[in-house]
């Protein structure tokens, strides 16, 4: 049984530009994943709760507003509090190189900056498939 991977693509924070998030969502759909898209301006609480209800394997956070150092770790922390630390969180958006070590340390499994190819994201997901196939 080849389990279908489910991915939540969510936009925390206040910026209203979801072109990038939608692009990634569509590309992941085309790669054969089930993608749940919840729209802009989601609170970390709503994202965590949605991830749990939808029983996703991954949460992809997209953010342009610059609050990633606060919002991304918050989602990870909330998932932990809800005994859902097996859900893998990755992030994307305009994120300076210098913030990456901190985010990694906070439990963000991968960061994809705007130049990243979809192939790199898919590679990351596939590399983690064994981890999420519960």
């Amino acid at each position: 049984m080849n389990k279908k991977l489910r991915i939540l693509i969510a936009k925390p924070g206040l910026d209203g530009h979801d072109r990038g998030a939608k692009y990634v969502a569509r590309a992941l759909k085309d790669a054969g994943y089930e993608v749940i898209y919840t729209g802009i301006r989601q609170s970390p609480e709503a994202i965590a709760q949605t991830a749990i209800q939808e029983d996703v394997d991954f949460v992809g956070l997209s953010l342009l507003s610059g609050a990633h150092n606060e919002l991304f770790p918050r989602v990870v922390q909330l998932l932990r509090e809800k005994q859902a630390s097996d859900i893998i969180v990755f992030g994307g958006g305009v994120i300076p190189e210098s913030d990456m070590p901190f985010l990694k340390e906070q439990g963000i499994a991968a960061i994809f900056t705007p130049g990243t190819s979809i192939a790199a994201i898919i590679e990351f997901i596939e590399a983690n498939r064994p981890r999420v196939s519960h």
Partner: protein
Amino acid sequence: MKDLTQQILNGDIRSIARAISIVENNAPLKEPLLDELYPFCGKAMIWGITGAPGAGKSTLLDRIIAAEREQQRRVAVIAVDPTSPFTGGAILGDRLRMQRHALDSGVFIRSMASRGYLGGIAGATRDVIKVFDAAGYDLIIIETIGVGQSEVEVVSLADMILLVLVPGLGDEIQALKAGIMEIGDIFIINKKDREGAVKLKTEVEYVLRFKNESSAPPNPVIMTAATLNEGIAEVIAAAEQYFQYLTDSGQLEQRRRQRLRQEFYDIVLTKIQQVVENHYNLTQKVERLVELVVEHHEKPYALIEKHLNSILKEIEQR
């Protein structure tokens, strides 16, 4: 598994979500789990909401959830979107319109991909309903894929169907022609802020006159503007009243019994198919039959009839 069952009965969100995945993935735990949950099922009210793509099903649902929550009802939503037949992927976007309920502990929204199942729902939808039912949700609503006329299998899963029509989609003609009117219990004319809504309502009511027997109350036809939150209270009131009628008239019981009948029938057939596939090399045998017909000009029906007996015997001996 006893643990998981208990957690579901306790309404634990993570466990419910996990159980749904087990059901959806047809994992080995599925059948024993559903059997354990079964005694706790049957309390929920199950609605289906269906209609053309973009008719406003999700937006209506968002409003309906809000209204039901005011009455302290716990609501579960199963929102089905299509799986791409080419990639196997899906974008599940219905939830987007209901996301303001994400933090309400009395609301559980689950998106489902159809995974190749035709009929406007997913193959596992029927069993996901049971998980929610056992978990104590009072109202379970299934949003189908935006459908045409032929994909209305939700009828066989729900107690009651809300059919959403909108002006300007040619629904007027469609309604008359295709017999989609047969499946609705509550008729919602959404986007009443648009031109043609009143006309559509008149036409729907006209068609319904031929459907309704004299004894039954007429199917409610309600105009709404989901985006403006108009007509929602009327929908709820009509739905509750109609549900009461279904209950009192014995139709609800009848529908549920029919649902069970259909389900058992499907399960038995699936099991038989599995036995055939597991214990009998069907692919290879069919290949042989094709060869006989194509190259040796045997007659298909006579040939299959001849082989069927040996097939059945072989299975029996296993």
